[in-house]
């Protein structure tokens, strides 16, 4: 299969199975893009999450742009963005046209009651491995913990946290170079 088609198929799969917003796609992207296709490395994957999160717009589209462009330029970008978008587009179009009552089916609701806690586990489980590739140590562990608490308990915007981290990194580099 050509690179373009592989990009399309991979992001179609990711788009079709991402339930519950931006972060829910992280485990899928990690498995498909990092582990299976080796399109990007572990460190680059973390950079990608930070960039996709701090740029405006839809995180899934931002991710598709990054990977598609890196693998096959603008052509790759178009294929991966199309792949990521088409599943939701087609499903929602069907619902808008035929099943406006979709939500009231108890069977659908039952399936989703099972999926919701599963999605939370999918996000939480790879944290330890990711912390290792991000080089989190006992000394700098306070940074991710503080970031998580600020977002979770104080409702601070992740974008603000990312900007603070960038400034912090620059200051650190400056001190290191003195």
């Amino acid at each position: 299969m050509s690179k373009c088609l592989r990009l399309f198929a991979t992001f179609f799969k990711i788009g079709a199975f991402t339930l519950g917003g931006g972060y829910a796609m992280i485990p899928l992207v990690q498995r498909e893009v990092v582990d299976n296709n080796h399109w990007i490395g572990e460190e680059e994957f973390l950079d990608l999450i930070a960039l996709a999160q701090s740029a405006p717009g839809i995180i899934a589209v931002n991710t598709a742009v990054f990977v598609g462009y890196k693998i096959d330029g603008v052509r790759g970008l178009i294929m991966s963005v199309l792949g990521a978008t088409l599943p939701s587009f087609l499903i929602i179009l069907m619902i808008a046209m035929f099943f406006t009552q979709f939500r009231s089916y108890p069977q659908v609701e039952a399936v989703f009651k099972g999926i919701r806690p599963a999605v939370v586990a999918l996000i939480a489980a790879p944290l330890y491995k990711m912390a290792k590739s991000a080089k989190v140590t006992w000394k700098n562990m306070w940074i991710p913990i503080a970031a998580a608490l600020l977002i979770w308990l104080a409702g601070v915007s992740p974008v603000l946290i990312i900007l603070t981290a960038i400034v912090g990194g620059l200051v650190w580099t400056a001190i290191d170079n003195l």
Binding site: G15, A16, F17, T18, L19, G21, L46, D47, I49, A50, A52, A55, P56, G57, I58, I59, V65, F66, K70, L77, T85, S88, F89, I92, I95, A96, F102, R103, P106, V111, G114, R116, P117, A118, V119, A121, L122, I123, A125, P126, L127, Y128, A131, A134, K135, V136, I143, I145, A147, L150, I151, P158, V159, A165, I166, G168, G169, L170, T173, D176
Partner: protein, 182 residues
């Protein structure tokens, strides 16, 4: 001209929608109610449908709004589909342009000492961001009873120890949900 309005509104949403998902919803709500494209009740339906269907909430609502807005205006089915296409492309376009620029800067400058320094700090911080995402989802709506906790534990172990594919785990959890709750 409803297509132009749809395009401009959703382009704006894509451009200023920082932070993804639910942050975008309030922007969409504002635009959609301003033009009377749908009632507040219909908007609540979109949110519910988005939560139950795969894919980004931004795309889901753009597609749905594009269709319904044309329908409310009394247009034919195929014109409504065109409305969906216009709204969906409009919300994607800013992401594509901005991310493409960011991407080029990143790939060119990632070896630069200063960029490398901030990326190092960023990587460590992102772990906290992801942890926060998981914590924020641990709500009573997502964990309704002990079955939820059991499903959480099952998927957690399946990912960590058995390295099962996320898609397989989502399907298993869906089937289990059907058996338990239906």
């Amino acid at each position: 001209m409803i297509y132009l309005q749809l395009f401009l509104s959703f382009f704006k949403i894509g451009l200023f929608g920082f932070g993804g998902g639910y942050a975008i919803l309030s922007l969409i709500q504002h635009e959609v109610l301003r033009y009377g494209w749908m009632t507040p009740q219909e908007f609540t339906d979109i949110v519910a449908v988005s939560q139950m269907t795969p894919g980004p909430i931004g795309i889901n609502s753009a597609t749905y709004t594009g269709y319904t807005a044309c329908q409310t205006a009394g247009m034919s089915d195929s014109m409504c589909v065109l409305g969906s296409v216009v709204a969906t492309s409009a919300i994607i376009l800013p992401s594509v342009i901005i991310m493409l620029i960011i991407c080029q800067i990143y790939l060119r400058l990632k070896e630069n000492r200063w960029v490398e320094g901030s990326l190092k700090a960023l990587r460590v911080t992102v772990i906290g961001l992801i942890a926060a995402a998981a914590l924020l989802l641990m709500t009573p709506e997502n964990f309704i009873d002990w079955w939820s906790v059991a499903l959480f534990a099952m998927v957690f172990c399946g990912t960590l120890f058995l390295k099962m594919h996320p898609i397989l785990l989502i399907c298993i959890a869906g089937v289990m949900g059907y058996i338990i709750y239906n």
